[in-house]
């Protein structure tokens, strides 16, 4: 699989760069020896002369610096030791220890070449903010003509893009990956081999495109690229890819306790899986499967609600979803009763995209309790069965109470739930 190859590449690149760094630092040490002991002593090649040079070097490192150059040499020595420590720890499999040592080294001197290696160390250690810093640092250096463009190669750019996605900056992540795809198309082997990297880049581009836009535009992209098997199951193939990658983002953010981005990832997954139940991207629509899928979707919603409840400051819904909600509420507040259908569908869409927005859950329940319209967009194409409206009303009120147990309408919500013979959360 491409991913394994990429990891090997990253590993290889990292090793080469480690060696380069080590060599640079050893050369600098040598420069010190030449500077302090003079060229003739080196040409003499006597063991005693070299020993004496290194003795003097070590003595200088141990004593307070007398010249600025000695300060720099001491700094370099410290960097050198940290670099060696990081390399050794990485070889031993201590990823976090290696990252800490390298991080300390980079803070002594944030050189772009070190940032490149630090990018791999940080990605392995799950320090996605540092990966983003590295990506930006290298790009700044390239733009300022301070380093060669090859410093930003396919593995670094990929790690930068994925890290931005993990942090919830989906738009910037997508632009970084699209830039990578363009570079791959130019067949510049300094950046990376197209055959090896293109599918990997595209896969994440589709995922981010879905999160930023919608399923249909993503399907058009995939079909245009001929990357989805045309076996009659295109939507299912794409759905599986998106579900897998968004779940991957959930796992990465969860592993690092990144709760704000995690909430965005759970919401994106909730939207995808619940949309699938309406549009039928992949799911089997049998009665038994339908109830199982309802369980999956509500499970994801509960995950999002749990994360939301644990946040020290509550997030605001994304601006585009907030506008959708405001539009729907304007229709309900001002237009005649008979023209609410689209507004209700919009409210359902908002609960799908932001399952942690208490106010919308309550308002949707209030409307559906009174307006027995056919719910065509909640969990599946045609929602049928006895008291189905009541089932949805109850579900929405339960979500509301879980999010706002002491909310302004908590009492009212409990009253309705009792009238529907439903268990009240926490009672």
């Amino acid at each position: 699989m491409v991913q394994t190859d990429s990891q090997t590449n990253i590993e290889l690149g990292s090793q080469i760069e480690s060696k380069c760094n080590q060599m640079t630092k050893r050369l600098l040490t040598l420069a010190f020896v030449i500077f302090n002991c003079g060229v003739p002593s080196l040409f003499a090649q006597t063991q005693s002369a070299t020993d004496s040079a290194y003795d003097s070097y070590n003595k200088m490192l141990a004593s307070p610096p007398q010249t600025p150059r000695e300060v720099f040499y001491q700094l370099l020595d410290k960097e050198h030791k940290l670099h060696d420590k990081a390399t050794t720890l990485k070889k031993q499999g201590d990823i976090m220890g290696a990252w800490e040592a390298f991080s300390e080294m980079v803070q002594l001197d944030p050189a772009p070449l070190d940032a490149r290696v630090f990018c791999h160390y940080s990605f392995d250690a799950g320090k996605y903010r540092d990966v983003v810093w590295c990506g930006q640092r290298i790009m700044d250096a390239i733009n300022a003509d301070k380093v060669n463009a090859w410093m930003m190669d396919a593995p670094v750019q990929m790690e930068w893009g994925i890290s931005l996605a993990v942090l919830g900056d989906y738009r910037k992540a997508d632009s970084v990956l699209v830039d990578g795809i363009e570079k791959l198309h130019t067949a510049n082997s300094d950046f990376g081999y197209e055959k090896e990297w293109l599918d990997y880049y595209r896969e994440w581009h589709y995922t981010l495109n879905y999160i930023n836009n919608d399923f249909s535009s993503t399907l058009i992209l995939a079909e245009k690229d001929n990357t989805i098997a045309t076996d009659g199951h295109q939507t299912a193939n794409l759905y599986n890819l998106l579900a897998r990658d968004i779940s991957h983002l959930v796992g990465l953010a969860q592993g690092q306790g990144m709760n704000y981005p995690l909430l965005s990832h759970w919401s994106a997954l909730h939207r995808l899986v619940r949309e699938d139940m309406v549009v039928d991207y992949a799911f089997d629509k049998s009665e038994s499967q339908r109830s199982k899928n309802e369980g999956i979707v509500t499970g994801i919603a509960w995950h999002a609600i749990d994360v939301y409840n644990g946040l020290p400051l509550k997030p605001l819904p994304p601006a585009d979803v907030a506008r959708e909600y405001q539009d729907a509420m304007n229709v309900i507040a001002t237009k005649p009763y008979g023209s609410w259908y689209d507004a209700i569908q919009k409210l359902i869409d908002v609960t799908r995209r932001v399952p942690w927005w208490a106010e919308v859950h309550y308002n949707l329940a209030s409307i559906l309790k009174t307006d027995k319209v056919t719910i065509s967009n909640y969990y599946c194409i045609e929602y049928t069965g006895a008291n189905i409206d009541n089932k949805i009303v109850a579900q929405e009120l339960i979500f509301y109470l879980a999010l706002e147990p002491n909310g302004e309408k908590a009492g009212e919500a409990k009253k309705i739930l009792r009238s529907l013979n439903q268990q009240i959360p926490g009672e």
Partner: protein, 291 residues
């Protein structure tokens, strides 16, 4: 008689055919020969199609779908009654709704967008460096401490005070939000402006703190520039000694001075990093927060 009984249906048939032919003849003569009469077949007897559910829904909403004829045209009274019922239902729903209210979150979407620091020659995001508040300190240089509005101070303080309650990564996220709040940009978290009731004295203390952070950030930035300058200066001293412009002793003394200067800058930078880490503690000393 028997014969007559057998003939009667035939007579009807003949009579029916005659009438049908006469009608056809009439239409043909009137120029309607293109009409296909077979369409009438489905309307025979009880074969008239029942209305579908879609049509019923459409009727309930007083709409027409696909131009399907609505059989019953409601009377004026029925329309009035339906409208009154619908209005009653709408009023009932509206009464129960939670009204979207900008004041509850105190944050609107109409503010300006600001960019938090994402680049630069320092690590603004390593947890063991300047900590989660490095980015915040960096953004203080974009903000004139004296020009921060009261509401921005309240929001910034409220966010920073909550920042240390979450995970290390949540702290980073909230420090970024605090930077945005300080600069008056669009927030992604809800902040209650009334959570902090600050006095003028407290506001002034916060402004001083922003000034201090700005200085801390400059100290960190300064050390890198200082390294380059001192490196060049030291080379010049070496060159002067080599050229005999100054004595070895003078050169040594100059280099020692430069060394002290460099070490001072480095010490200041390290102290600044430690200061930035203490930001939430400093906020707590200014404000007593009601959580």
């Amino acid at each position: 008689m028997k014969k007559l009984r057998y003939m009667l249906p035939c007579k009807k048939l003949v009579l029916g055919m005659g009438i049908s032919a006469a009608i056809q003849l009439l239409f043909v003569s009137a120029g309607f020969s293109q009409i296909d009469f077979s369409v009438l077949d489905k309307w025979r007897g009880n074969q008239r199609p029942a209305f579908t559910r879609t049509i019923n829904v459409a009727r309930e909403r007083n709409e027409q779908v696909n131009n399907t004829p609505v059989v019953h045209q409601p009377t004026e009274k029925e329309i009035r009654q339906a409208r009154a019922y619908a209005e009653k239902q709408a009023a009932e729903v509206r009464k129960n709704l939670i009204t979207p209210n900008a004041n509850t979150s105190s944050v609107t979407y109409s503010l300006t967008t600001v960019n938090t620091v994402q680049n630069g020659g320092y690590l603004n995001s390593t947890p063991n460096g300047g900590g989660a508040f490095y980015a915040f300190a960096a953004d203080t240089r974009n903000t004139r401490a004296t020009a921060i509005p009261t509401v921005a101070i309240r929001r910034t303080v409220a966010i920073l005070a909550k920042a240390s309650e979450g995970s290390a990564e949540d702290m980073f996220s909230l420090a970024e939000q605090a930077s945005i709040a300080m600069q008056g940009g669009d927030l992604q978290v809800k902040v209650n402006d009334n959570a902090i009731n600050s006095s003028e004295k407290q506001e002034q203390q916060f402004r001083d703190l922003v000034q201090e952070l700005s200085q801390d950030y400059q100290d960190i930035e300064f050390v890198k520039k200082e390294e380059d300058l001192i490196d060049k200066e030291a080379n010049n001293v070496d060159a002067d000694v080599y050229a005999g412009k100054i004595s070895k002793e003078e050169g040594k003394a100059k280099l020692l001075d430069l060394t002290k200067q460099l070490i001072n800058a480095k010490t200041k930078s390290e102290k600044a990093k430690e200061d930035i880490k203490k930001l939430p503690k400093k906020i707590e000393t200014i404000y007593v927060l009601v959580h």
